[in-house]
Structure formats: C-alpha cells, structure tokens
Amino acid sequence: MSVPWISIGGAVLRRTALAALTVWIVSLGVFSALNILPADPTTAALGPEATPEMRAAYRRLMNLDVPPVPRYLRWAHGMLEGDFGVSVVSRNPIAPELAQRSVFTGVLGLASLLLSVLLALPLAVLSARRAGRILDVAVSAFAIAVSALPEFVVAIGVVVIFVSNLRLFPVSSNGIAEGDLTALVLPVLTLTLGAAAYVFRHARVSVIETMSAPYVRTAVLNGFSPARILWFHVMPNAAVVVVNAVALNAITLLSGVIVVENVFGYPGLGQLLVQALNANDFPKIEAVAVVTTTLLVVINLLADSLVLFLDPRLRTQVASGPR
C-alpha cells in the first residue's frame, strides 16, 4: 500500500498539536489584552465616568482581585468544561447563546463556502480553457473587482440592488431565528460573491499553469482527448492549489461573516462579537474570540490534512521525516 497512513497520521497529529497551541495562544492573547494591557480594566470596561461603586461591583463580578494567572486558569478550565462564564451586561450565562449563534453562523459560513466553490470551480475551468477570450476576460474582470472590495461594500451593493430597487428580500435577517430561510439569501449571496471571486482567481491560475506543464504535452502526444487530459491529468494536479485556496478562503470568509451579520442583522457570532465589543462585555468577547479561533483552526487543519492526502509528493516528504 503506497499511502503511508502512519506517517500521514503522524503529520496530522503534529498539526493538531499546533492547532491546539494556536487556540491556547489566542486565549492567552485575548485574556491579556483585556485584563492586563489596559492600565485599569474597570475604566476600559465601564468608561472614565464610572463611579467607585460601579467599579467595585465590577471588580467583584469579574474576580479582578484574584491575580491574573489563577484567574486565567479558572477561566480556561471553565471553557474546557463548557462553561463560558457570565455576561457582564445581562448576567446570563454565555454558553447557551454562544451555542445557538454558532449554529446560525455555521449554517451561513458553510452554505457560503459550498456555494462559492460550486460556483467558482466550474467557471474557473471554463475560463482557463478559453483563457484570453471573451468569457474569460469578462468573468475575470468581475472576479478581480469583487475580490478587491471590502465585504461591506459588496453588502451595500447587494442591499441597494435587491432591497431598495428590486424589493425582493427583507433587509433584516433576523427571521432566521424563526426558521425563515429567505433571511439567509442576502447574507449568503454577499459572502458567496466575495468568496467565489477569490476561489475563482486562484483556481483559474492554477489550472492555466498546470495546463502548460510538460506532462500535459506528453498526454497530448499520447493522443488523449482534451476532456481526458483535463480531468485525469490536469485536475489532479490543480486540485492541491485549489484546496489550499479554499482553505485560505475560509479564513477571509470568517472576517466577512462578522461584517455581513452586522449589515443584515443576522443573529450569529459576528453580530454577537460586535455587540459585545460595543458594550465592553469582556467575558463575551473572550468567549467569542476563543470559539471563532477554534472554528478557524479546525477548518485549516482539515484543509491541510486533505492537501497531504491529495499531493503524493508531500506524502513521501512526510514519510521520510524531517530533513
């Protein structure tokens, strides 16, 4: 069997360890930023006009009298058990709200990711085959324009077209909480446009480059049909780059999610984060930060492992150990 499962497994394990390390560092970083960096956490949280009583109450609530290290450990330990603390604003436990919103954000993100790939890949292959011709130039120009724009500009554009003028969909996507799926349309559309543009550009370049590789000439001279060459010779090689691009895309997607949820009022993690930031609700901020980072890191891990599996060259490097 030529797939060195043990070595791939070892590599995946190593990457998992690195991923866990990343999450841990982020939790440390966020905690330090909010608790150690500011000269006075109460001022940062409550503002300069807070009364001494408010500050004392805050100190009590947040256990600020406990030194930072044990405080961090308690918090981290709590998270591992599923207790994400209590919101300073609402006094409610954070975990349930976090869970529900994670689902909503997950749905949004996954739908956008899938749609973007389904849209971008076929277009990329088509464009690559007709590189330089009208279809390619038009689609590429559009993709460049969209991928260069900030998410909120795309969002505003979507709102103007579909809400103000076409009046097709509601501007607020709150309805998802009641299971109204039309509330998903506009946010998904916005995210998909941006993500698809990004994946399209990378996939197109990858296919074009692969098409000019020497082994493609060999396949041509072996008399294979263009279809066979494309699917059996070009795509297996281009796939690696594409998977990488999709993984990177997932990261930008997450940033875009925050903006899009904000613009459309979609009740997900992004909206929660911005609300928490504006309210200086530190425990919530910390919780959301850790959860989003974990999500991101897991996606990266999956993509990395997939790439390892797909590219035979990486496998042997992994198998023969570090050089």
Binding site: L18, A19, L21, T22, I25, V26, G29, V30, A33, L34, L37, P38, A44, I144, A145, S147, A148, L149, P150, E151, F152, V153, I156, G157, V159, V160, V163, S164, I251, L254, S255, I258, V259, N262, V263, L273, V274, L277, N278, N280, I285, A289, T292, T293, L296, V297, N300
Partner: protein, 283 residues
C-alpha cells in the same frame, strides 16, 4: 533608484489592467489628497437643510445633519489612505528586515521564525485587531500599529521565501566566496532581485489594509464621528439607503475605486513576474 521607479511604472502601464488600476488608484488618491482644498464646505459645517437630494448648491445632497455630502467625501479620503499606507510601511520595515535576514541565514532561527509566523497568521485578523482596539482605545496609532503587526508575519514569510530562493542562486554563492559581508550581499545581490515580489506584495497588502481599516471604521471600531471617513460615512448612511442612497453609495464607490485600482496594479506586477520567470533573468 529613479531608474528603477521608472522601470516599474512602465511595467505597470504595460497592460490594460495595470493602466486602469493605476488610473483608479491615482484618481482616488487625488481626491483624498487634494479634496480638502476643493471642498465647498467644511466636513462638519451644517450647510443646508437635512436629507436634501442633489441640487446646484449641494451636488450630492446633504446628510441627516445637514452637512454637504460632497465636501464630506472630499475630506474623507485621508484616513483611508494615510492609515493603510503607514501600516503597510511599518509592516514592511519590520517584516522585510526580518525576512531578509532569516531567508539568508536559514537554520534554527529560520525554523523558529517560520513557526511563529505560522501561528500568528492563523489567528483571525479582525478578531485580533478588534480586541486590541477595545483594550487600547481607538486612536490612529492603535489602528496603524495593530494592522501593521497583523501584516508582519505574512511579509516575513513572503520576503523570506523570495530571499531564500534567490540565495540558492550561484551569484549569491559567488559573493560569499569573494568574502563579501552579509549586509553587502543582502543589499547588492539579493534586494535588486526581489523588488518585483516586494512590489507585488506591497500593492496587495495595501489593498488588504484599505479593506481592513475601512471595515473597522464601518463597524465603528476605528475612526470616530464626526470624521467623514468613507467607511464611517457608508455606515452612517445605511439608515437612509431607501431615501437618500447617495450618502452611502458615493463613499462606497470611492472605496471601491481605490481598492480595485490598487488590486489591479498588484495583479499586473504579479503577471509580469510570472511571465518572466520562464524567460529567466529578464527581471
């Protein structure tokens, strides 16, 4: 140095995307820099009745407080350009120096720096910056510093990779055999051969910085009112999209023009580089 600049400008305008991009970017830049001198009103001046449509006295209308929209836009470009430019410069200075050194030396330091960069890069950026902004307040300095620091690992990776690939060439070995110092080698032999990569990355980072900072401003986490920063204007005008869309749309268009322009320029450079790797040494 002047010759190098002229050379790269001619490379950029050598293709249609580059020309369009340069035009857009320079145009937006012009508006941002020269705008304040041309504005008919101040950006906080209550110049007319609220929420008016376009008229001879207010070409783009007025906003919800009665301020002239056109003037606000002319004033609002500064932060969109200066802040990203400073952030990118900072990141390049830090990351570039580190990347050069590490790419040349290799070894343990290289592995350490690469690992650290990898970890830093897998942290969601918006998250990082937002948290830092909350902790440290929303001043310009904080925005520049955090954006710059977010970029630095990426630039270290890119510069390191470019440097390492140049250092496999025999002309770098030849310089070592001649007994040249590290500084001399990095400056004379390596840097002229990575300018292309650096420029392409610079333009790309500028694009990301613009996106990033305008997004922060949009979310209210960056520049604060009454500034007429374009991102902030888009956010403030959201409520009136049905009635007076220009308040949001015009600044969005300006941001779009700048972002697309910079991106096209970076693309043009990247395409030039890719094409010339094959014909070898035409760089």
């Amino acid at each position: 140095m002047g010759r190098a600049v002229a050379r790269w400008v001619s490379i950029v305008v050598g293709g249609i995307p580059g020309r369009v991009g340069l035009g857009l970017a320079v145009g937006a830049l012009a508006v941002a820099v020269v705008g304040p001198f041309l504005a008919p009103y101040g950006y906080t001046t209550l110049a007319g009745p609220i929420l008016q449509g376009p008229s001879p006295t207010h070409v783009l209308g007025t906003d919800q407080l009665g301020r002239d929209v056109l003037s606000r836009i002319l004033y609002g470009g500064r932060s969109v350009i200066i802040l990203p430019a400073c952030a990118v410069t900072l990141a390049f200075a830090l990351g570039g120096a580190l990347g050069l050194l590490v790419g040349y030396r290799g070894g343990r330091l290289d592995q350490l720096v690469t690992r650290a960069a990898d970890i830093l890069m897998s942290i969601p950026p918006l998250l990082l910056v937002m948290v830092l902004v909350i902790a440290l307040g929303t001043s310009d300095v904080v925005l520049i510093a955090t954006t710059g620091i977010w970029f630095t690992p990426r630039i270290v990776r890119i510069v390191r990779a470019a440097t390492a690939s140049v250092c496999t060439k025999d002309y770098v070995l030849a310089a070592r055999v001649r007994g040249e110092s590290t500084a001399s080698i990095l400056w004379n032999e390596v840097t002229p051969n990575i300018t292309g990569t650096l420029l392409a990355e610079l333009a790309l980072r500028l694009n990301y910085a613009i996106i990033f900072i305008t997004t922060l401003n949009f979310l209210g986490l960056g520049v604060q009112p009454p500034s007429s920063d374009w991102g902030l204007m888009v956010s403030e005008g959201r409520a009136f999209l049905g009635h007076r869309p220009l308040i949001s749309i015009m600044p969005a268009v300006m941001i779009g023009a700048l972002a697309i322009g910079v991106n096209l320029v970076s693309d043009q450079i990247a395409v030039f580089l890719a094409r010339n790797v094959q014909t070898s040494s035409r760089l």
